[in-house]
């Protein structure tokens, strides 16, 4: 049996490998993607294009403006004199933030009353808008604290001291780069497996394969192994780049990470083969893979947390293998994931893989009828 399976695996590898173009698309782009996306996928906000509208001539207003000028987050791109000019900067996106200090600001603050400063922010990118307001609020709080100290006001009775575990500087990159391991290996494995059966069905060779002495389990292993091995190899390269190039700390165990990667790829292979067995043509297979991959990425917690989703959608994510693997890959990198948490993620992936692979094997034959 193993000789036959080995022959089949070698044949599958050759089918992928014989074409120079398909070799290139498997190896080259994922690396480039990882590098580009590793830098692009981030919710960190910096160089916020800021415009100052300061109607106050006093020193306190100038001091507040100086704090924004000194902050690396804000990049002052202009000074304007009237509120009418605000739209000229915000509408065409020349600026994302306008800081409006009204006349009387210095008088109020000097008299010991609360002075108001208005922040006008472009809401087209809602998340960025919120982060900008958060940063701006922090600059104003620092100003307040300094003002209170230097003007003999009482300190607030209690202050918030915030710190973050696992990612003390709250770098988005540490969150997204491990996620890209899941994203890219999923896309590559799904496309490889989705096309594997459909290509042969379209060419008519799959029927020939079914009438050979091969058993279905042997065909299944033959079809799944190459995709699995290519996925593992690619995952390894991405993990290495994440660690060595992006310097994302690795605090967990490689054994847990690779068990997770293996089961995740097995589940992806199962889904891919299932779709491939249903499809009549390669086009249907790849579009079917798409109908799975896109929602799978969106509902995985890759960019938006699962906890923010409504409850029925959260239930739906339980069927998504990527959701479990993301916990493992991020945990293994940043948190030094404990085994108990890892096991809670590993078994659902194993179940999904088993169900999909068995269905695929069943569909090999029954699709024909």
């Amino acid at each position: 049996m193993w000789d036959r399976v080995r022959a089949l695996i070698i044949k599958e590898f050759r089918a992928i490998w014989k074409d120079k173009r398909s070799r290139v698309v498997i190896i080259g782009p994922p690396i480039i993607q990882l590098l580009v996306f590793g830098y692009a996928a981030s919710f960190d906000v910096n160089h916020v294009a800021t415009v100052i509208l300061n109607e106050d001539r006093g020193l306190p207003a100038a001091q507040l403006v100086a704090r924004f000028k000194g902050s690396p987050t804000f990049n002052i791109v202009g000074h304007i004199g009237t509120t009418k000019e605000i739209a000229q900067y915000i509408d065409p996106r020349y600026a994302s933030l306008v800081i409006h200090i009204r006349d009387g600001f210095s008088r109020e603050i000097g008299a010991g009353r609360t002075a108001k400063v208005q922040m006008i922010v472009d809401g087209r990118e809602s998340n960025t808008a919120q982060i900008i307001l958060g940063y701006a609020g922090r600059v104003v709080r620092t100003f307040n604290l300094h003002w209170a100290r230097t003007h003999g006001l009482k300190d607030p009775p209690a202050t918030v001291v915030a710190r973050a575990w696992f990612n003390p500087n709250l770098k988005s990159q540490w969150f997204f780069v491990p996620g890209i391991v899941a994203l890219l290996t999923l896309v590559v494995t799904m496309v490889l497996t989705a096309l594997s059966v459909a290509r042969e069905r379209e060419a008519g060779t799959f029927e020939q394969l079914l009438v050979t002495p091969f058993r279905r389990i042997e065909i299944l292993i033959g079809k799944a192994t190459p995709a699995l091995l290519i996925g593992l190899a690619e995952g390894t390269v991405i993990i290495a780049v994440a660690y060595f190039w992006f310097a994302v700390p690795f605090r967990g165990s490689l054994v847990i990470l690779y068990s997770g990667l293996f089961l995740f790829l097995l589940a992806a292979t199962g889904v891919g083969l299932m779709l491939s067995s249903i499809s009549r043509t390669q086009q249907q297979a790849i579009l079917g893979a798409f109908l799975f991959v896109v929602p799978a990425i969106i509902l995985s917690g890759f960019a938006t947390p699962i906890a923010n989703m409504p409850w029925p959608v959260q239930l739906l994510t339980l069927l998504n293998p990527m959701r479990y693997f993301l916990v493992i890959v991020r945990g293994a990198f940043l948190e030094g994931l404990p085994l108990s948490t890892a096991l809670q993620q590993l078994w659902p992936m194993a179940v999904i893989a088993l169900v999909c692979l068995v269905s695929a094997a069943w569909l090999f034959r029954h699709r024909m009828a």
Binding site: A158, Q283, S340
Partner: protein, 413 residues
Amino acid sequence: MTGSETPSAIAGNAAGSARNGQDNPNDRGDTAVVRTGIAGSRRILRLRGLIRKETLQILRDPSSISIAFVLPAVLLILFGYGVSLDAEHVPVAIVVESPSNDAVSFALSIANSHYFSPRLSRNRHEARAALRRGDVQAFVVLREDFSRRIKQGSGAAIQVTTNGTDANTARIINGYLDGVWQVWLKHFGLARGQPIVAPVDVEHRVWFNADVRSRNFLVPGLIAIIMTLIGALLTAMVIAREWERGTMEALMVTPVGINEILIGKLVPYFALGMGSMLLSTALAVWVFGVPLRGSFLVLLLVSAIFMLAALGLGLLISTVARSQFVAGQVAIIVAFLPAFILSGFVFDITSMPSIVQAITHIVPARYFVSSLQTLFLAGTVWRIIFYDLLALGIMAIVLIGLTRRMTKKSLGQ
């Protein structure tokens, strides 16, 4: 099947005029006009046939229709209802080491905020374990000396520890807790009859999206993703299949010119893409309540030009790839993923490193997303739209022109 059964409305007009020309050649005037007229009508006839063939192919294959209409609906529902960057009911653990009035009042302020769903932990170890297990996203410790330090005026600390793995959520949690703290300070001052005056207070004005709803930001950008799927992925696959099967070469040896082949391929997919754009816009506005503040006509114009660029990309991919496998992979890698990550759809472009920002300039979806966000939320701001239209127009011309050249060259081999 006769021409009157042509399923595509677009093909319909051309079909009607072409048939008239063919059926009644005697109605025409002098011979010179007849000759050019016949040549012209033949071309229209051939084109009509090609468009009809492509349209039938789309209608017969359930996967094309799913990509054009099912996937957009699924994506819109997911982004409209499912996905959000706005955290609510964040699970946090609170550790009150000594239950003084001050500490309890702060813990209650957290409990009263709908942003948090708090639980009490007996001690720091328990809270730490909960954070490590992922049961809570953050924990707040009010130390034993919290009340005493307040009374002494030596400044008590509210220690907040977040799980920083998801940096964005951690930042949002810190922001929420800052808000809770400020409200608590105000009450604290009022309760003691000595209000605490903050020197400067910030007033927020969020233009175009006053409630800062992430749905208003994500749903318009999604139209770019959907049209990229149809224009680049679907088209690349379909035409790569023709190359793979040799039917493209077969088509080349017929009297049909390259221009006609390309137009024949473009028209049905263009209609499909615009159809799903209209469907998405209708869902966005009427189901998800995203405002459409700009001109609808301008939206149509920008979408049409973007669709041409996306189709050009799809055609070019299929011409270079020649096999469905390679075309599928390449379309995902050069069209779909960049539209998702490098277009400004989710991730802010101005915060990217300058090299990556430079790369985004060759992603057509970047210009379309910018126009979509502006047209839906801000209005018709010509200073943005004009620039985007120009870039998209150039890309469409370059991509389609390149495809035309490559198709000729490859046949010469």
